[in-house]
Point group: C2
Chain length 477, copies 2
């Protein structure tokens, strides 16, 4: 039993030290390993397979809206990066520079892409001539590099995986429509598949993307009450089009600039899954994203017929992603591993169960134990997975709402941020000076101006002037 | 009509200038665009969607054999690259070096991965302790960088997409088995899906991978008679295990070194598809890999009911990948585009066809035209796609066999290489001096020692000494 206990004991409890709990989970659930490369992580099969499922489902949803995938070079020549002024200012300080190819120095150094707006614009300038060439709705799946000083697995790393969509449209209206469409697609995906409720809204000018006219965001609340920006969608207007001279001939034979958008989600989502759903036994994966949905653990597997029955059950559950753990570890150890890895459902089957034509089903999130007849096992498992998916979203929503406060003056606001981890809703005048002051004095940043505005007061909590919008504020990852 | 002709006229014929024909096809079929980054190409939707289909099918086949996907960092610290002597010698001259992160110089420079053996070994040394941890059968999909001086789209570029499998096994036998298993998986995939017949065999020591004990290869013959190495699988023995100290405790509690393999295929396969199947009207895609299998072209689409009928046919053909070209281009232009892009089947449907309850089907490879009743359209399309897939492989095999020669002495060999583009089968003593001399005097390299050996003579064509094996020789991409 000593050995069996080790796996669980090795995790710090989240109440004791949330950051350490997080680090323990990513390691012990075998999602990542640290590498010899500073700030870069290795995505192990446990972590990468979650990303594969995210990719598969997002990609399907993208394509339904007409997205086409492409692949751009990973390098950006320095002169190309510099074409759009705000953009280069935002990214130049945090890129990795390639200066030598083989044994020779390069004539012009190149950065490893931190994002690919400049490459897409350069390409669009080449291939867009007429209104017939529009819209272009391209996306790429790749990795990008940002030279971060402090890194944490999934949340902030030097290299990370993501998708970046880049579109070009004939009109400003169409670009705005696409920007919002993708934001909603992201939010729906997170809610329906990852069971993470999202606040949808617009970033303040201070927080928007380098080079964007408007940035929209979806924001989630983690278990510790900190916010996580989970996806962003940017409307560039025609700023990049002017910088890169992307023009088309319209139906009246006049030259027009295109209107552009970009939007991205990253492996950060895996961090969100961990911090929204995890518990002190490890990861808890929403069934729809879990690489393995059901782990069958044979009990007394050396006894005749047990392994055969386990294999038979796997066949019967062919509609789900099922594995049998037939390694030579003890059942207790297998239970701990299945819990640590967040596999939604465990089925225990032993000689006594076989005799009674039944199995024990244990749900990962609630630990609920059910004894089920083998005759309707598949049906039951399906029900449990559906219920679990629904209830995980519901619990996350309840947690978020219970940790969403509001403040009508600066004192209330400061107290809320200092004592109650979570979102604080408060009115703002729209002035960056107030936003800066709030961040400086409380550590909370503006997360977004939600689409669903509420009039909780008339005046800005900071300066007392007339309020322009309600903002979600919070400390964030 | 002038405009319609342009698309086709713009292609150089392959008989006139094969290299130019190739370049024309990759551009006009919109597979790639050149980028502002030297030697790097942009994979446009037409090209990337072929890669997506290759990925999907290969990945499925990998996973059936127990492969798990992971993701490693894109950077390799210089000290890590240097751990295995042969490996670093092979790759150091052609890597891109990152020397600065943000505004500061790095303490140790890092290369962008040209391949990831060193990173996998470093990781394996961390995670492999016991025989219980074996085998590890990992793969990653990513891009790699090799600082090539002369580049050609798909065939040789500074950055390219690939998969790289890296495995660790308890025994030498198991490693050898996996090496051969993956080579056969590659060859089967190329033959069954890409309709490209392969020669399976072993590389000579001169041609093997930097650091490998044995390299196996699959070799294809292009339309112009040049060979293309299409996939390789390496058995490393325990060389890397010694260099990186990857040891496990066996069942008898003794420390043992692991035995490793690696294997990879790249976007080069798209070059092979073009050069094996293409013709003077453009690309010809094997139905199983074609992103669009059927293009429906409405004739006189302004007339009532035509576009509706085209949409109805698309629905009826739901089992295939079908598009309707309802743009405002002329039918002739649409035909040229469908041919240029290599879409296997075109369906023409106009007012007269609708009246007669029929459609015209045109097969891309043979240009065969069929008038088919709409009542059994789906069945007919299915038959045509199957036949086309089978016949494309058969034609490629006939072409290859017709361009495979044999030589029993050096004079015959030199004449064959000089006058008959293709493979030359000839005996070899196993001595690298002969291999070097053959290359120097004829330009032909050893492609492989095929698994299916034939005794076409007793002596080496070069030195006349006793022959050890029959080798396929040829000029290669």
């Amino acid at each position: 039993m000593a050995k069996e206990k080790k796996l669980v004991e090795a995790i710090t409890s989240m109440e004791e030290d949330f950051a350490q709990w997080y680090t323990d989970v990513v390691k012990k659930a075998e999602l990542i390993d640290y590498s010899s490369v500073r700030g870069c992580m290795i995505l192990r099969p446990g972590g990468y397979s979650i990303w594969e499922n995210i990719q598969k489902e997002l990609d399907r949803r993208f394509k339904e809206t007409g997205v086409e995938n492409v692949y751009m070079p990973m390098f950006i020549p320095e002169s190309l990066l510099q074409k759009e002024k705000d953009h280069v200012e935002g990214f130049a300080p945090e890129v990795a520079w390639v200066t030598h190819g083989g044994l020779e120095p390069l004539q012009e150094r190149m950065c490893v892409r931190p994002t690919s707006e400049t490459l897409f614009c350069d390409h669009y300038a080449n291939i867009i001539q007429s209104y017939r060439d529009l819209p272009k709705v391209y996306n790429q799946w790749c990795s990008v590099v940002r030279w971060e000083k402090t890194t944490r697995p999934f949340l902030r790393s030097v290299e990370f995986l993501w998708q970046e969509g880049h579109t070009a449209h004939a009109t400003a209206e169409e670009a705005e429509e696409r920007t919002i469409q993708m934001l909603n697609l992201y939010a729906d995906f997170c809610e329906e598949v990852l069971a993470i409720p999202m606040i949808r809204g617009k970033k303040t000018d201070k927080e928007k993307f380098a080079g964007a006219k408007d940035t929209y965001t979806i924001e989630a609340l983690m278990h510790d009450g900190k916010a996580l920006q989970s996806g962003t969608s940017h409307n560039f207007g025609d700023g990049f089009a002017h910088a890169f001279d992307i023009q088309y001939t319209d139906k009246d034979n006049k030259l027009q600039y295109v209107h552009q958008t970009s939007w991205g989600m990253t492996t950060r989502l895996i961090g969100a899954i961990i911090m929204v759903h995890g518990d002190n036994s490890g990861l808890v994966l929403p069934p729809r994203i879990a690489p393995t949905q059901v782990m069958i653990v044979p009990i007394a597997q050396h006894k005749e017929g047990v392994l055969e029955k386990a294999a038979e059950l796997r066949e019967r559950l062919g509609a789900f992603r099922v594995k049998v753990d037939d390694t030579d570890k003890s059942p207790g150890w297998k239970f701990s591993e299945q819990e640590m890895r967040g596999i939604p459902v465990r089925i225990e089957i032993g000689p006594k169960d076989i005799e009674e034509n039944q199995a024990v089903i244990v749900r990962r999130d609630t630990r609920e134990k059910l004894i089920v007849s083998l005759d309707n096992l598949a049906e039951k498992v399906g029900e449990i997975l559906d219920t679990m998916q629904r209830e995980m979203l519901e619990r996350a929503r309840i947690h978020r709402d219970a940790h969403t406060y509001q403040a009508t003056n600066f004192e209330e606001f400061k107290e809320a941020v200092a004592t109650k981890p979570g979102f604080v809703k408060a009115m703002w005048c729209g002035d960056q000076a107030c936003e800066d002051k709030i961040k400086e004095e409380t550590g909370a940043t503006s997360r977004c101006m939600p689409f669903k505005q509420e009039e909780i007061a008339d005046t800005c909590i900071c300066c007392g002037k007339k309020a322009k919008s309600m903002v979600y504020w919070g400390k964030a990852y």
